[in-house]
Amino acid sequence: MICIGIEGTAHSIGIGIIRDESNLCKVLSNNIKTYKPEKGGIHPREAANHHAKYIADLIKESVVKSEVDFSDIDLVSFSQGPGLGPCLRTAATAARALSLSIDKPIIGVNHCVAHLEIGRGIFKDCKDPVLLYTSGANTQVIGFAEGKYRVFGETLDIGIGNCLDKFGRIVGLDFPSGPKIENLAKNGRKYLDLPYTIKGMDIAFSGLLTASQQYYNKKESLEDICFSMQETCFAALTEVTERAMAHTEKDEVLLGGGVASNKRLCDMVKTMAEDRGASFFVPPKDLCIDNGAMIAWLGFLMYDGGIRMSIKDTIIDQRFRTDMVDVSWRD
């Protein structure tokens, strides 16, 4: 089965085309175009306008790149939530139009669940992982338990990517700031004390953000601040992930989301996994960030598992929670 996936929850519009091959996901193409605000954070309507401007060409391009024909596509999948309303509506409108015009079924999927399923889809040995999902808006520790993907821990205030971006804006780094902070951190030497906030398996970053800003105002070296932020945030993320693994007795850990491309975070989680005798998986970058291929793959899994939607079921849900999805395609 060939499935096209349309991702549009936030600042990226992504079109992915996949084919299932002996229960694994074969990515035929995965095009992503990202809206960059001129200044400040994402403006939802401007992001949506950006998506609307590029989406049709991106779909055509993806079909050509995949060396398939529109008539070869069996299913249209799209990100139904959670995310920014205007962006979600743009992606959903495109998906509905495409589904009607090529006369193929449509399916709406949960964006967070897609981040987990793509890991299981591309790694043969990744069967029942705990996912540490770290992106701009989302920071969750997710695992499968009793028929659903449960959120065992998550941020109580802002997402980790958001925390890094906000700090980047304060000190004048470009968006996205994560990679720049990662680079600066490499030359950091001195650890500056920062709040480390964990409540059970939940986590919080806003105190750390304020404290980092105060260090900047006090003219501490930017390299040292970046180093200290990374070490503190990522240690906390690794700790909650380990707690969730111990709690659920799972021995696989998977990374997902844009922040998973940070090498320091990968190293920490990998070390933790090694010490627990667990397996560690991180997908290639284009499957970690928001992308259409993961949406296509989850759409396929759901359709293959017997789930059907009509156009009237495709209304978007900005607050679509991970644990609202009935995971009937998995035992």
Binding site: V151, T271, D275, D323
Partner: protein, 208 residues
Amino acid sequence: MTKKNVIYRGAEAEICLSKYMGYKVVEKRRVKKRYRIKNIDDRLISSRTKGETKLIAESRKQGVSVPIIFDVDLEEGIITMEYIDGKRIKDIFNDLDDTEREGICRRIGESIAWLHNADIIHGDITTSNMILSDNQIYFIDFGLGEINNEIEIKGVDLHVLMEAIESTHSKYADYFKFVLDGYKKELKQDANLVINKIEEIVKRGRYR
């Protein structure tokens, strides 16, 4: 020192059986983590060891049965405490007769109220963290605890136990009401404020 005899290993700490001045003790040792820098590792291990020790000592003052603390090593992150020879409530709860189970629940509720009267939040009240020994209910593992006077936090503290009873002792889920009875009896502030919070937390319905 006798050889290390690990009886339990969690995400953060391991529990070893040992001897201390002739007494049978357990050592709760917070394990160093290779993934974080020494600075953070040292700070977390020492502050958590200190925090837990304080909460255990404070709980004893409130009349709650907790292990006696013999020694604390902040650098190594080790709390040496009395070995409680008994059975975990988790392991016996389902086999008790109804009157006994009801009595245990009431007493659990009373103990939680004594903790909350002093703003002690246990943070992980489950039946695995209570030991019945010599007809006393001992509370252990204050590793996620804190001092906090907020109604919300107290509600969350009770909610954790409610869920633990529902998931581990689902047949006797309604016995949680006896916990609340005991709690109401001993809590100095209006217990209904906290109990209403529990309902609110359930309605938010994020956790299992």
